[in-house]
């Protein structure tokens, strides 16, 4: 990453500030690569997919996850402490009657370690402003039309609290193993803007 040739004005300004910080000993050129590598390895939606698949096949884990997600995640070798501060994870599960969707109206709070880097739309004012006031309309923009009888709950994340949505297990998946089930889950499903 340290030898990129992006010649846009902002890229030049970023390089300029990096050089100043390096000169002052506040930044180590190799540090940036280390941070990015750690970020790429630790923040993956595959983690969230595994958590959901385990909850689908193991009722005990599912109960522990819903009760205290921070305590349950280490069972899969995961934690909410990998970022700059530990966050409380609330797992809000979809049911026949209730569909959950997550947002951060103030900024971009998101469970990175379980969902990977957040998409630009999640950070956009269009999504953040509208999903809290017109969730059904926003979900339809994602191609998700819910029955009028389904209640939609919108969870607003913040600096201390993050949310993740386990989708409902699809019909006809009884014979599948955990890895196959995990492959059915999508990033948008974990946000609540897709059914699975």
């Amino acid at each position: 990453m340290s030898d990129d040739h992006d010649d846009s004005p902002i890229a030049a300004r970023v390089r300029e500030l990096e050089a100043v910080l390096e000169e002052k000993g506040l930044l180590d050129p190799t540090e940036l690569d280390q941070v990015l590598e750690a970020f790429a390895h630790k923040a993956s939606p595959a983690n969230g997919f595994r958590v959901v698949a385990r909850a689908w096949v193991d009722d005990g884990f599912r109960a522990r996850l819903l009760q205290d997600a921070n305590a349950a995640l280490p069972e899969l070798g995961l934690s909410m402490g990998g970022g700059l501060q530990v966050q409380r994870l609330h797992v809000v599960e979809n049911t026949e009657d209730v569909h959950n969707v997550i947002v951060c109206t103030l900024c971009s709070c998101y469970p990175l370690s379980l969902l990977g880097p957040s998409p630009t739309w999640y950070k956009s004012p269009a999504y953040r402003s509208r999903v809290v006031s017109h969730p059904r309309e926003v979900l339809e923009q994602f191609g998700l039309t819910l029955p009028g009888t389904t209640k939609i709950e919108v969870w607003d994340a913040n600096a201390e609290s993050r949310y993740m949505v386990p989708p409902r297990r699809p019909e006809g998946t009884d014979g599948l193993g955990e890895a196959e089930l995990a492959a059915l889950v999508t990033r948008n499903g974990l946000i609540g803007t897709a059914a699975v």
Binding site: D4, L26, E31, L32, R130, A159
Partner: protein, 83 residues
Amino acid sequence: MPRINDVGGRDGFGPVRQELDEPPFHADWEAHVMAMNRALIRREVYNLDEFRDAVERTMSHESSYYENWFRAIRTLLEEKGVV
């Protein structure tokens, strides 16, 4: 008075635009801004709450996400006399 970042329930931002197969960063400089911020917080040049506050008071809806981050970092470094 709510800050500019507090958009919950506000009108006028248009439909949500999804980008299919979106990469984590759209340019190297965005990754550098993200990494620079983590490094500065880890070194306690400023803390995470100060960073959030700086984003909220300096951001513009016309700027991209990482442009807003970069403006906030610069602002904090200037205010703290680092640069």
